[in-house]
Symmetry: C2
Subunit: 348 residues, 2 copies
């Protein structure tokens, strides 16, 4: 397993929509971590180009993340929300698609990477088998024991445990408004539940941004920690300027469906406050509908209408080159574990 071979137990989270770049992926990998390139929102052709660009930068193993497709949402579910947004904004056409899932799988079978990770659902067992035959490991993002069971039964090699603290989209297999009251599990709760029930390596994700945080994930039984927000301010990241400036600002985060129709955590801003209450579960339809207004706000430098995805600890994200950050985190991780083990614990 790739996780056994890493010299540093740090995985770069795939941050689709801008931050993920071949340069960031390669830099994390070069420093001993494991880079995962985001393929979400990209066409299969653009994914191929990014894979090629990453291979130009590193010969080491790296991974790719795909968004698993979900069902289309009936237009009546989001008609009122579009009317609410349309009163103030120019909207794009809401549409459903599979994010070119089949074409991307074909691409990854033809030109395999070391690891394919998946978010928003679990590949079918036959799809996992195809990736295995191509020589790839399959890691599935899960947020609950029920999702972990599905992933393990489909043949997943590892589970990416995503806690409540995580920035960006919740990886839930199904995004139901009715589940909001009982979801999400905090990372440390989820890790205890998964390590107790499943015999698969676990990658801990959600709000980890310090060596002490990585040490905690390892102590809880994770094989590695996956960090996203921690890398948003790195020079190698493709984070847009509005987003980059907002990270570390001190603003609190919240979960919202307002921007994309799927629950995601970002810095609280005016758009969230105005529209979260009525935003339906309708992904990717709402993603497409709000794309023009978000693009316009990014271009105008207006943080109040941009999706500023960030985890709960974003104030601690440093502005360092990615390789330096990985090495600092690795050193701090070791120190934190040694300090913890030096504490007196008298057992029988």
């Amino acid at each position: 397993m790739i996780l056994d071979e890493l010299s540093v137990p740090i995985v770069l989270a795939p941050m689709a929509g801008g931050p993920s770049t071949p340069e960031l992926t390669a830099a994390v990998t070069a420093a001993g971590g494991f880079g995962i390139l985001a393929a979400g929102y990209l066409t299969a052709a653009d994914t191929a180009a990014r894979l090629a660009a990453t291979r130009e930068l590193t010969t080491a193993p790296f991974g790719v993340n795909l968004f698993a497709p979900g069902p289309a949402t009936p237009p009546e579910t989001f008609a009122d929300y579009l009317a609410e947004l349309g009163a103030h904004h120019d909207l794009g056409t809401p549409k459903h698609d599979t994010d070119e899932w089949d074409a991307k799988l074909d691409l990854l079978v033809a030109a395999p990477v070391s690891v394919v990770t998946c978010t928003f659902g679990c590949p079918k067992a036959t799809e996992v088998a195809r990736l295995h035959e191509a020589g790839s490991e399959v890691w599935v993002t899960v947020t609950s024991a029920a999702e972990a069971r599905i992933a393990v039964e489909a043949g997943a090699d590892a589970l990416i445990a995503q806690g409540a603290e995580a920035g960006g989209h919740r990886g839930t297999f199904v995004d139901r408004v009715a589940d909001d009251s009982t979801d999400p599990l905090g990372l440390l709760a989820l890790l205890q539940i998964l390590t107790t029930s499943f015999d698969r390596p676990i990658v801990a994700a959600g709000g980890i941004v310090t060596g002490a945080g990585i040490a905690a994930a390892l102590a809880a039984g994770a094989a590695a920690a996956q960090l996203g927000t921690a890398f948003l301010r790195c020079p190698e990241a493709g984070t847009n300027p509005v987003h980059r400036a907002a990270i570390g600002s001190g603003a609190p985060t919240m979960l919202t469906r307002a921007f994309t129709g799927r629950r995601a955590r970002g810095l609280r801003n005016r758009f969230m406050d105005s529209h979260s209450a009525n935003a339906p579960s309708a992904y990717p339809e709402i993603h497409y509908a709000t794309a023009p207004l978000r693009a316009a706000a990014r271009a105008a430098g207006n943080p109040d209408e941009v999706n500023l995805w960030a985890g709960q600890t974003h104030t601690l994200a440093p502005a360092l080159p990615a390789g330096e950050l990985v090495q600092t985190l690795a050193s701090d991780t070791k120190t934190a574990l040694q300090r913890a083990l030096s504490r007196r614990i008298e057992d029988c």
Copy 2:
């Protein structure tokens, strides 16, 4: 500091309203942990009796937890909610009180314990000073950096960091519906934020129920972990039968104000589903209003109208004697840290 002297870094959470007993407090203390007796909801006289009973059982240091009083809520804030409940239930009289805060402080100054912990707010600096003069440490429950700052400025000796995962009431100094979208922070996020900013020992609380979870808290920089739900099924706990039977049932937890007018995490049941949406922030008024219906449901063995407080990992809570549980957890904590440190981490 007491935290430096514990032979096992486990603190028993003060579970007011039944589960906390002198027997449970003494058993945790005898096993090398630190027991905290709950004084919330008790009169000062009953608190004195419980302190005396605990002193009969142990000569070792233990602590007491107080609920900090908040302001009264205007009746018009909760009139509609009472009308909603009153249509189906016999209600108690909603009233405001201070939970005998001043009398309890006087008691603890006259007959000091090793540690006074506080929930729902921070004692005034003068009150902290009185407790210090009496020889007690003061630990304050916090859920954010802003609350930690207030506690440190008031003279708190340690911070109890309560993460989102915790069962029972959120310890927020102020319970505002408007803050629900950005609160709560997950435990691992909160620990990273607090250890980075404050030079005080931290006790980690929220969803910790395994040795691996305690190890994670220590690795994150906490001096100890505070566990509540983990002890609910112990024979020494005063957990009522309806509550005891529900712990470990597999039901998900959620946060609600329906039972007490303050956000608290418990097992989802019909009362929560029916009333959470309209429940206002009005504590302890709603606590008193719902007391009779909760008592009746407990007596009838009806879990659908009882506040079944539980953390997110309650399914993992074992039914063991408290001392045995503390020793098992201590041993597992050590094992988890050693295993984590045995992982290869190559830093520069």
